[in-house]
Subunit: 367 residues, 2 copies
């Protein structure tokens, strides 16, 4: 007997201009963004890296964990953690950003996790290139796409599924796509995919499947919900759509001075102030330049030494702060010439909003 689907009719309420629903707040309480002042650390300390989990963090034991490698391979396998860790290890600093970062600043806004700008982090991930695992199993000639399935299961828009995503064979074969067991030199935390996850550098976070239990090699495109339905750009709700892939160029500013608790507005003492922040782009494209806006006047920032091809880049400049009200902003441009828009670019699902970051500051004369 076919079960009625209990969540088929779950409707998301249209949003109200400038106000948020309780469901969005519950998601905001549950998921966590970086604290902007933590942009000061080259490597984001654990617990400060952004975190978004679609479903529940599964209960997992390293001892019992297996990863199935199945589908269009010569030798299907069921690998233990020890077997995975016996492959050559590689550590890579990688900046991850949620594809929905900035959704909460769009108007109208798709009802989902209402990130403003804080869904980012930079960690050192240790694992082995996925290619080593695929080579062990042996891809058949018709292998076109590799799907990655996590242990986390739930509903999204009425469809029950385990979280899963796929990569084209060429992308998956890069040395940079890792099957990962450690973050910042420690075993993965439960919420970051313990005991095993994927890391796909240069892509928005949804590609880096957590709690990896199954690698399925396919001769045709993967039809999992999060690949085939979720994570597409759409300029109108029922219009044509484009898959979300690489991160768009973006920068964030460490808010200077001290905050007001509720509004997070900033107070700065007049004088010489160092402004600093981070910039990154997707697909391994380097940052070409960062500009800092002081009341809409752009000036170049100095770039810190690079931390790695897939890692954010620090930048800084000096501002002579004069008493009064000011708006600070930052704008990055990558080596492809892509830059950040001054106004949010709207998307029906709330994806890819890389608008410039603005911080309102009151400067007071020194006592």
């Amino acid at each position: 007997m076919k079960q009625a689907n209990p969540f088929q009719s779950t409707e998301r309420r249209a949003n109200v201009e400038g106000l948020f629903h309780g469901e969005e707040v519950a998601l905001a309480n549950r998921n966590s963004g970086i604290l902007l002042e933590a942009l000061r650390y080259d490597v984001t300390p654990v617990g400060l890296h952004y975190l978004l989990s679609h479903f529940d963090v599964p209960e997992a034991s390293e001892k019992d964990w297996r990863v199935e490698v199945a589908g269009r391979v010569r030798t299907p396998a069921s690998l233990s953690l020890d077997e995975i860790r016996s492959f050559p290890a590689r550590t890579l600093p990688v900046t991850l950003e949620c594809a929905g970062n900035g959704r909460g600043a769009m108007s109208p806004r798709y009802p989902s996790m209402p990130w403003i700008c804080e869904a980012v982090g930079n960690a050192e991930w240790t694992g082995t290139p996925l290619r080593n695992v695929l080579d062990r199993a042996g891809l058949l000639d018709d292998a076109a796409e590799i799907a990655f399935i996590g242990a986390d299961r739930g509903f999204d828009r009425g469809v029950e599924h385990n979280f899963g995503r796929s990569l084209k064979r060429g992308v998956a074969s890069s040395d940079d796509v890792l099957v990962v067991w450690a973050m910042n030199g420690q075993p993965l935390l439960p919420q970051h995919g313990y005991p095993l996850r994927l890391i796909v550098p240069g892509w928005y976070g949804m590609a880096s499947v957590k709690w990896l239990t199954r690698i399925e090699v396919l001769a045709k495109p993967y039809d999992g919900f999060q690949q085939a339905v979720g994570y597409h750009y759409r300029s109108e709700p029922d219009g044509p759509r484009t898959p979300v892939t690489h991160m768009r160029v973006r920068s964030l500013l460490v808010p200077p001075g001290i905050p007001d608790w509720y509004t997070r507005r900033r107070l700065v003492d007049a004088g010489s102030v160092t402004l600093a922040g981070r910039a990154w782009s997707g697909g391994g494209v380097p940052i070409a330049r960062v500009e800092v806006g002081i009341d809409g006047q752009w000036q170049p920032a100095e770039l810190d030494p690079p931390l790695g091809r897939f890692s954010w880049r620090g930048w800084r400049c000096t501002w002579r702060a004069e008493p009064g009200e000011h708006e600070l902003s930052c704008r990055a441009t990558d080596a492809d010439g892509d830059t950040q828009p001054l106004e949010p670019r709207w998307d029906a699902g709330g994806f890819g909003n890389n608008v410039v970051h603005r911080v309102q500051v009151t400067v007071r004369a020194k006592p």
Copy 2:
């Protein structure tokens, strides 16, 4: 010349029934709650413990950190981390909850961090009893109250201040109040107070001052903003007020089954289901019993062995889940006979809402 106060006139907008302001969402993105499924861990893994920071996480170096001990003492001191760590160490599992937990479920609602129920965690804190530090300095006879000042500074309701709180001399002299340098066996994370903080077991989290830089012994009550103005219960905005101190008795349930991403509603397969969760109270008062409500019918849960006087206590029971819609709830009672209300108890500042936790569940017949 006296400076104009830039945030004096910062007004918080009255809330709209069932809807939240952007400032509340920005705070919810910034601060983070426990994931309810992480109630399964006796000790909350780092990064899953609730976190609320009034101002910015300060930049800190263990090497340069000093704690001043001043005021009504025989020998004022400026202690290094090494000196603090040379006192006898003590490790204590302590459950901390934010005093504003449940604020977002009140109506009308004070505009601040809109916790629903998730502002809790249980960690193993390592430090030395504060008493050792106070004894070294030598309290004078008129010492009545001890104030603890953090390095974090900002504005709240127009008042600029470093976060600070105080304890009466008798409370501060307990062996259980710790000056702490490690959490779960590792140095404190930046966001949890690195390199040094206070832990006041049995109290709501505001008492456990992070980034501790100054201990001031006073002959009269401490007049810091967070002690004298913030953190008071008020049954009407301008009515009489009572200081917020110990945690109120509370319990939370690990939501069974699998979630819907947006609504977090749960789907459970029919049959025998283990329901489990945590319960705690304040002031070291033990949990006497936990009841689980199935559609409003209360049944006793079994308590797990205690983890420590100031630590939450696990509980569990078995539910024979029948297909249909159900509401699960849990209610703890402590050894003083205090129990959780069925409806939120309203407070003007949104403090101390220990309403029973309810989870909506759809049960489906097994396929």
